[in-house]
């Protein structure tokens, strides 16, 4: 006997096996529209790759900044003609102040040797000079918490006025510039990625729209036999979600491959400056964020398409 009419309130809107149906259908549709799906996935991957590249550079510069911040330094450059008495006076001045007491004297020879080791490519140029151009200096380690204290600023001013002192340089000045740079890189990455991400969303939306046109007749049939909008839309939403996920995973994988290739080809021959960029790959949280970004972009793109398109009355 036929069943009595079942009120929608008493019947679950989606069947228990719906989700496996959504996934099967979504995978099949991606496969059927391979070319369009490829474009959507590529757009997501490129957008996230660009965001990821900026994040990676910012991450490594941030790591370098953190390393340096742990050993914030003042460098007191002495005049090349400084006398031993003047050096002694500077040393006494530093020793008398607890925040400046952790000091190390760097001779001209040591400074030259360091330069040669850091900048191997330039060592020949320096070797051609008649005289050692590097002045002697004091490297003073300062507690990072004191770097902006009034007392320290006053002491630096006093140091600058001492005989035999040519220049006093604080690491944290450019450290702060570096931090600003890291922030700018992050912002540029997010803005560029955001713009590309929006473009990727619309690409996905268009791909899904095309798929929907392809399945227009089928959607009509589904609606006539009693499929809910959720059942009709589900595979399209999952399709966008899968495209976004694949794009996200692909972006992280590509970024890793490019990072490794760059690290191997650039790092050995380059200076310490390059090594700042290869301190490590993105932490897992940021990798996950990129993939989740892809998922959301895919979901949002397909949602844009299905939002109005499937609800036409039939």
């Amino acid at each position: 006997m036929p069943r009595e009419f079942v009120s929608p309130r008493n019947e679950p809107e989606t069947p228990s096996n719906t989700f496996s149906y959504f996934f099967r259908e979504a995978v099949r549709r991606i496969w059927v529209s391979k070319r369009n799906s490829f474009v959507a996935i590529a757009m997501i991957a490129i957008s996230l790759l660009i965001v990821g590249a900026f994040l990676l550079v910012a991450e490594n510069l941030g790591r370098a900044a953190a390393q340096w911040q742990g050993k914030s330094r003042i460098i007191v450059y002495l005049e090349p003609t400084v006398t031993p008495q003047q050096v002694q006076a500077v040393d006494t001045f530093l020793a008398a102040r607890p925040e400046l007491a952790r000091r190390r004297f760097v001779t001209r020879e040591e400074a030259l040797a360091r330069f040669k080791s850091y900048f191997a490519n330039l060592s020949e140029v320096v070797g051609q000079l008649d005289d050692n151009p590097f002045p002697p200096s004091y490297e003073v380690e300062v507690d990072p918490r004191l770097v902006q204290s009034r007392g320290l600023v006053n002491n630096i001013a006093l140091l600058r006025g001492m005989a035999g002192v040519e220049q006093v340089q604080y690491d944290w000045q450019w450290l702060m510039r570096l931090r600003r740079l890291v922030n700018i890189i992050n912002v540029i990455g997010l803005v560029a990625g955001g713009i590309l991400g929006i473009a990727a969303c619309f690409t996905i939306a268009n791909v899904i729209r095309l798929t929907m046109v392809l399945y227009r007749e089928e959607i009509e049939i589904m609606r006539l036999v009693g499929a809910t909008e959720r059942i009709i839309r589900g595979p399209f939403l999952i399709e966008g979600f899968l495209q976004g996920t694949i794009g996200g995973v692909l972006a992280v994988a590509l970024l890793f491959v490019l990072y490794e290739a760059a690290r191997r080809s650039l790092a050995p021959s380059s200076s310490i400056l390059w090594s700042f960029l290869f301190l490590g790959f993105l932490p897992w949280q940021k990798m996950a964020a990129l993939i989740v970004g892809g998922m959301l972009a895919g979901w949002f793109g397909s949602w844009l398409s299905v939002r109005g398109n499937t609800s036409d009355a039939t």
Binding site: P2, F5, P8, N17, V225, G226
Partner: protein
């Protein structure tokens, strides 16, 4: 079961498909809807399925006023109707089995039951050997029977068919009508739109005739109870 109260359907100022239709089809009834092409048969069926809404009047199906039905309730309402479309509306990329089991997915039937129920539905229309065929590889008659099996797979409260025997030879038409008669015996209300007067005459069932969008003739049924086993439509059930 199906009630039309002064229903008019206009598509635009110059084209009125139905004029002031009032008709009632009771639960368990088997009725034919007939009339020449353009008489309004398909429009009337579309109103029952709420593919379109009336310009005036009320359509009440199974106690529900379709004018007042919310869009979210529509799928659940349609699940109670087995509809056989004139152009079959089978999904070409799906096999016969998938075309039917898809309905079961929509209807929340556990997947483990799909095979059994699909096979049974196809057996009823004598097409169980075509489970894995694609619709485009079937003849018109076979596609029609798949569409009927799909409409019947859930033992619907109502079975509505739009020209289900169009383009079929008379013998096949009788076979298909036999299937409808059996569904009617199982309790489904059947409304069948056709312009094949020979079929209607042979059946002796209630007939509603439309012309230019108006009911011009209603012939009450002449047989009290359909006797399928004895060959209601001129052939014996086999």
């Amino acid at each position: 079961m199906i009630h039309f109260y002064h229903v008019t359907k206009r598509f635009d100022r110059y084209s009125t498909a139905l004029h002031d239709i009032t008709l009632h089809i009771e639960k368990g009834e088997f009725a034919f809807l007939t009339g020449p092409s353009g008489a309004g048969k398909s429009t009337l069926l579309k109103l029952i399925l709420r593919q379109i809404e009336p310009s005036e009047g009320q359509v009440v199906v199974n106690g529900r006023n379709l004018n007042a039905m919310k869009r979210t309730q529509l799928p659940f309402f349609r699940r109670e109707i087995g509809m056989v479309f004139q152009d079959f509306k089978l999904i070409d990329r799906m096999t016969v089995f998938e075309n039917l089991s898809f309905i079961l997915t929509v209807l929340n039937v556990p997947p483990k039951e799909h095979k059994k129920r699909t096979y049974q539905a196809l057996r009823n229309v004598n097409l169980h050997h075509k489970l894995n065929a694609y619709p485009q590889h079937l003849s018109g008659g076979e596609q029609q029977r798949v569409a009927i099996a799909r409409a019947l797979i859930n033992d619907p409260l109502m079975l509505i068919a739009d020209e289900p025997t169009g383009n079929l030879d008379p013998e096949l038409s009788q076979e298909i009508l036999q299937i409808f008669a059996e569904a009617n015996l199982r309790g489904s209300t059947v409304l069948l739109a056709t312009h094949d007067r020979e079929l209607i005459r042979a059946s002796g069932r209630r007939t509603i005739t439309l012309e230019h969008g108006r009911v011009v003739d209603e012939k009450a049924r002449t047989i009290e109870r359909p006797m399928v086993r004895e060959g209601l439509f001129g052939i014996g059930a086999s």
